[in-house]
Symmetry: C2
Amino acid sequence: MKQTEIRTAFEAFLKRRSLKLTSQRRRIFDRAFDTHEHFSAEELVRWMADEPGPRVSRATVYRTLGLLVEGEFMRSLDAGRGELVYEHILGHRHHDHMVCLGCGKIEEFHDDRIEELQLAACEKKGFELVDHDLRLLGYCRNCSKTRASERKNEAARTTTR
Amino acid sequence: MKQTEIRTAFEAFLKRRSLKLTSQRRRIFDRAFDTHEHFSAEELVRWMADEPGPRVSRATVYRTLGLLVEGEFMRSLDAGRGELVYEHILGHRHHDHMVCLGCGKIEEFHDDRIEELQLAACEKKGFELVDHDLRLLGYCRNCSKTRASERKNEAARTTTR
DNA sequence: GTCGTTGCAAAGCATTTGCAAGACT
DNA sequence: AGTCTTGCAAATGCTTTGCAACGAC
């Protein structure tokens, strides 16, 4: 689905709920779908403040993000540190996340076999699965390398002493 | 490991950090390990207020829970709604969680094959796994049944009308 | 006009922190 | 005496909300 189509879907969604497509909502929508990284509400507030365009208040950013999540145009997930993080659903099939403890970067991955095992576990417990959320915490390739070489330097310094 | 042993380990941990086992810390520790359910900091604050024993302030509850997590006597996880939830590690091997959207109950489960697949996914991406956190959201057996029968009543009412 | 919208400021929550008073060794 | 602790209240940081002014049909 391309961005224009999603935009149409968003307009339809608003109409269905008798809500209006205002310039603020349009700006938030466009900016959100322009980004393929994950972002927090506060980041989006900052973007709205720094970039040119019609003024958008913090309240409106939060309210509109709420709408976008309700309408299933975006998902929110908590990456672990106090604030929610948003991602849009633009040809992003379901996936899970690897959160880098070094740089905060979020990578996505997917494994059908994991999902199957989850379902199996639920069946065994009589649990009716609605959604799930798998977060792997660790260090991305880059940060992992950096840390490894830091450890090496540290070791060298210690033994030389 | 029994509760007395863990208590000893906690004392050793405090000593190592030149911290003291005060009556507040003891009370928090005991109460936390008495509970085999998951609880939030605010719940623990309420327990401290309602149950008999030396007065313990909210600040101390938060500070002590922090200590217990650092010392790996407890784990904290966010069950999804704004506040962290704590569980102790008393013969609880690693496990994942099923969070009931109806009653909030948290069930635990474990599957080695899921863990293996996670590791495999990380290797593929050069991601150095440190920890993970898998939450299944849905309805526990009880709530699921309740919902099913509610739906049935609803349907009956609608068709009769 | 009538709704729905916005911005603002205030409120809400969970959690953290500065600080002076208190406790234990 | 010297630390480490505690309670309190204030501060934080994210998010929500009440409300009056505003805008589109």
